[in-house]
């Protein structure tokens, strides 16, 4: 029980709460977006023929959609990493706040 108090102290640190909030605010919408975008291709391909249209020379919409998935992966990845590298500061602050609270409480 004693040991768990230490963890709870970190959990209660304002910086930790901000960290969790920031992570949720990015990760939940991003995950929903990429899953919907990803499954859009096989759903459209498996149940319709709309992707058979040629849009760019011989390139079909199916291939354009497929290449767009590559772009999406790289863009989302960099968006995540640039945010996650900032979150490291929040981790540091949460650590200090938990330690500071331990002193003053």
């Amino acid at each position: 029980m004693e040991r768990n108090d230490e963890w709870v102290r970190v959990e209660r640190a304002p910086a930790f709460k901000e960290l969790v909030r920031a992570k949720k605010a990015f990760i939940i919408p991003a995950t929903i977006f990429f899953l919907v975008f990803y499954f859009g291709l096989p759903f459209l391909a498996a149940f319709t023929t709309v992707l058979n249209v040629k849009v760019f020379g011989p390139l079909t919409l199916a291939y354009v959609y497929a290449f767009a998935q590559f772009a999406m992966t790289w863009i989302l990845m960099h968006l995540y990493v640039s945010r996650a590298n900032r979150w490291d500061d929040l981790v540091e602050r949460a650590r200090r706040e938990a330690a500071g609270e331990g002193r003053s409480a």
Binding site: R9, V20, T31, L59, Q69, V81, R95, R103
Partner: protein, 540 residues
Amino acid sequence: MSDQVIAIIFFVAIIALTLGITAWASRQTTDTSHHYVAGGEIKGWQNGLAISGDYLSAASFLGIAGSIALTGFSGFYLSIGFLVAYLVVLLLVAEPLRNMGKYTLADMLTSRFNTSSVRSVAALSTITISMFYMIAQLNGSGALIGLLLGLPYWLSVIVIGILMTIYIVAGGMIATTWIQIIKAVLLIAGSLTLSIMVLARYGFNPLELFSAVESEIGKEFLVPPPPESFTTSLDVISLNIALVLGTAGLPHILIRFLTVPDAKTARSSIVAATWIIGLFYLLTPILGYGAALVVGQDEIAEANAAGNLAAPQLADALGGPIFFAFISAVAFATIVAVVAGLVVAASSAFAHDFYTNVFRGGEASEQEQLRAARYAAIGISLAAILLALPAESFNVAFLVALAFAVAASANVPVILLTIFWKRFNTTGAVTGILVGLIASVGLVLISPNVLTGPNPEPPATPIIPVDAIFPLLSPAIVSVPLGFLGCYLGTVLGGRGAEREREQGIQTSYDEIRVRANTGITNIEQEIREASPAEEPRTT
């Protein structure tokens, strides 16, 4: 010099190179931590290249190229799914896993559920998934060496099996990491050269390549196959579920995040890996269509019914015997390296989880553990060789997709819920893994993969001539929800509830898990208490 002599010289050169690395690495492997995770000292870009190496297996190089050559767009699903899967890994799994794990997947799960039952089932699923994956790689190598050296399938499977065992037993994780790095560089260089040679025939314009496909092979190869029946449509969705979720449950990919010193390095290694893997997959239509146009679909299907030899055949047609030998040697190195990584993952699960922590109650010495890991590597290699022998007629990429389905069903639900679900308990974790594992493997066994299907396409050659009970080739659409359901029902119906388990000391408090997964703090006393030197022990 005859073609075969050149081929053999290339083979010997590649094998000598990798064995040299193994010998060098074996002098650095001094304890179990080095054997399993290279002492946690691998750099970000090195790890990124190694992840790419692990990931760009025979399935990617041989299987996808062959699949696109013979079936067109639907082969490209594999490329897309394998890539987008990295978002699942990066956004949801990589950092918590890195923050909670030690050597194996079971370590991560048992950092919350400290029981030998959780550890045992996690080890079991790791070994099963690695086994499926290894069968795929050995299958690809069998076809390849058969073409190259004229060896029969069974003999080449045995040769490669013995080679990979030597790598692991002598070199451990450092050796496999360096083999992966070298092989990733060779594979990308080879594919790039091959693609440039294809594009040179079409004015360096990929669109002209697509036009040629349209006019010479048929425009149906540039679009997804038309919706035939509800079952085939469902199978497409099911395959894609396995592809996008499976990576997050693949033990040999996940342990790569434990070989780096911190979360930042884990992140940068995924960035490097995702770029390399993505650029490689962008080349797969060029390789596949190039092979279909230059070599011809009939000739590809004749050399291997599943198209597994399309890329080496393309190299032969474009660059002659020397280039053919080079590409084949690269493919061979690919297979050896990937199988080596898999054996490390599976033997770690056996030696570290079963032997050390379950049988010996954590009491084994470093020496004993290292010996157990090496014996386990030998045993697992032998088992994989035996299982690969009857699998000759499968497409490599398809066999790998089955491994993804098992990983997505057995491991992914339990990994996600361990990180994110407060009420999750030990019973839920055990039933979740077992239900996912049994459902995915069981459904494959009663599907057209093994039994007779409605449309016996190349991946569906029946092993047992009985009508299939489960109609889909890919089980994920049923087995993944079952895995989650197993976790949920196990938690709600069985067991004692998270709070009771905590009191009995078999579950770590979710407060701790949440903080650890999000911050990477492991030793709370040291990091928080000692950071506040003014704190006095209080007794109130």
